[in-house]
Amino acid sequence: MSFINYLSREINCKIVYYGPGLCGKTTNLQYIYNRTNPDAKGKMISLATETERTLFFDFLPLEIGEIRGFKTRFHLYTVPGQVFYDASRKLILKGVDGVVFVADSQMLRSEANIESMDNLRTNLAEQGYNLDALPYVIQYNKRDMPNISPVEELRRLLNTGNVPDFDAIATTGEGVFETLKSVAKLVLTELKRGAAR
């Protein structure tokens, strides 16, 4: 749910990075944080365990510029990927404007990707959202690892709705900003469409 403040002339939107455990959601946010001009970002918050696994969420506020005099801000969140944190994942999806599904390209994680995608659909549906109607993109991460599935196969398994998808190596930043720009653009286009209805 976007938030528009006429007095401060701001538009705030929420984007959630979803995906199986250790797929690189936090790494995406860390790369964005490290490569963004200090004026355009707030502090990155990570609620993580001692072993740096996301416990509740990561949060990064990002300003991407002005549209017609309105400062446009995106609040980026990640969910904890581990299966047993499902209750937390549901909470973070509340009020979401756009979703990035980060898939782990390694063959061994194929099942975890599908399970996480199903979990995303279920958790969204519980809150009255339909993934196919939401601004949504997919990132095939870890393309530099050995034993990865071909993109065509990942696409066949995960991208049934033919949404924009990107190859990525989040640790080096490859594909990270392309993914973010794509979902941000879809969110703004959807808000514009909503205003016209």
């Binding site: 749910m1 929420k14 509740f56 949060f59 991407i64 510029g65 009020g95 009255g128 703004l188």
Partner: protein, 160 residues
Amino acid sequence: MASPQMVMYEEEFAQVQAVTNRLVQDSNARVVFVIDKNGQLISASGDTGDLDTTSLASLTAGTIAATGGIAELLREQEFATQYHEGVRQNVHIQVVSGRAILVVIFDNRTSLGLVRLRVKRATEHLTRIFEIVVAKAQDPFQSSPFAEITDDDIDNLFND
């Protein structure tokens, strides 16, 4: 879409700000802020100088969401009030009409009793204001800034 967009027009924003300004004074608090349940900061009053209000807003919404989850498991409606006691500072958190969160940060210049009392009155005022905000957001005749935005405007944002 599950919930309508929240749009804060100048009139209601000024009213919210007036309530929080008054609450700072009446309760002798350090800072008062109002955020929406999704973690977006709506207004802040008091000594906000060195505070990272954006992060505070997101984390407060996170704790409210988490305790809301606990409430659901216990078949409670919600835990509308929370209090965190620190060594030098304390935080009082109050859910307002299920949509917004009123946060008061205070120290030993005041007391929890006074803060609670003043928060109660402020909550009543804010509830009325948010009813109007919600009604306006659902009014199809209210203009949205997005109505005038073109595809080119969006493309221009992402030109390197």
